[in-house]
Symmetry: C2
Subunit: 275 residues, 2 copies
Amino acid sequence: MPQPCQLIDNLDDFRAKPMRRVKLDAIDTNADGGLDKDQARDALNDCRHKLSNLQELLYAQGTQALLVVFQAMDTAGKDSTIRKVFTGINPQGVNVHGFKGPSSNELAHDYLWRIHAATPQRGKIGVFNRSHYEDVLIVRVKDLAPSTVWRRRYEHINAFERMLSDEGTRVVKFYLHISKDYQKDRLQRRLDNPKKHWKFDPADLKERARWDGYMKAYEEVFMRCSTDIAPWYIVPAEKRWFRDLLVAQVLVQTLESMKPKYPKPTFDPAGIVVE
Amino acid sequence: MPQPCQLIDNLDDFRAKPMRRVKLDAIDTNADGGLDKDQARDALNDCRHKLSNLQELLYAQGTQALLVVFQAMDTAGKDSTIRKVFTGINPQGVNVHGFKGPSSNELAHDYLWRIHAATPQRGKIGVFNRSHYEDVLIVRVKDLAPSTVWRRRYEHINAFERMLSDEGTRVVKFYLHISKDYQKDRLQRRLDNPKKHWKFDPADLKERARWDGYMKAYEEVFMRCSTDIAPWYIVPAEKRWFRDLLVAQVLVQTLESMKPKYPKPTFDPAGIVVE
């Protein structure tokens, strides 16, 4: 029986609650919600169909936007989640923006400058592969700025996301949660498969060595920056079909709550003659 | 029998030849190449599959980009062609950029300024829904600048596209060709269908009244700006399945000629241990 885009019935359990402490190592990275893979695939197809329709309404309406943020440790599957969830949606309505290390010109501005410039215009879905959260993650873990600098950023970020929300851009954020062992396995696969060598960077091993620091930094992000208007979801990401479905369901739920609809015409269609 | 992405065997007949005069009203807008719709659908699926693989190679290689330009009269199907051809390709590798009337800030710069800023980064496919060609089309037809100004733009544009090509960005351009009668029918459909009212703008009728001027302006574009390195294709667009297949075949052919491939690793995969 085809499964609707509601198969995971406890979505809210995966949402980080505002100002609540999160212990990442107590959260199962391999969870599958007791679901069956084939059922999940059916449900994902239904979610994609719904996303596609909601995207068209959002575009037609042209007054609201959706910003989707992905963060994760290397190999957790940010690229592949984006591909699985958004492939099949009209590419005209979706813009994916990947953030790498900032350029010297970007560093010459405040850290939100390049982020703000990449936010989606009204009518569109913007997807961030990494984001402004790196400025309280890698910057903290690698000590790229003093704590007095990065500590005050949680408040900037909440204020920035509040402004986006007030002005019509809904924000929803996903952390793809994997274990350090899982990452080891995935990195080894990249080394073993010549078609995946291009995805491997020896520098990734240095980030891996800072695993515990990253977990602590992420935990603080979820506590301080998961808000009612711009929530963080912590997505068990080792069962990839569960990961994709959870993200897709949250996106459908979010877009439905935005109630996009066709705008009323500003002219009288019956009164127009095409010569 | 599944049809491969080679069903249209005379692609080059649709390419405008450099410095040759084009008579648009002598080109059939309703051509179907003698093909069958079901065969064409099969072939389009094969093209999309190939595009998807070529996009991944382009992304992995990261040294070349592809810029795809769409121009057409209203209702010719720019949006729908983009949706049909690019849906199914990893959205992370494709950026669609729509150009509307320039803002006052954009007008305060040269006309190529906003265009250049939107060109794809290496590794990506950029799609322009309208483009710098509006600056020798609508600008000419509506007399928004004197002819001394727009006349010299053909040379600017060729030099700009030459620079892009020399620096790794291939350019390919499509004009979706319809008749004035076909447009009448499509505009009427938009008026008759409440779900399409948002696509209708009464101002479109004023552009329609300038049809002949636009045809003349397009003909000059094809003569002056279809070059060996950045060709224009004139796509019969009333049979939509033929239109989609022709565009997809040209894109596959273009990407194949760019020979994207996985880069060689800059490290020795066998010498790395993941701890």
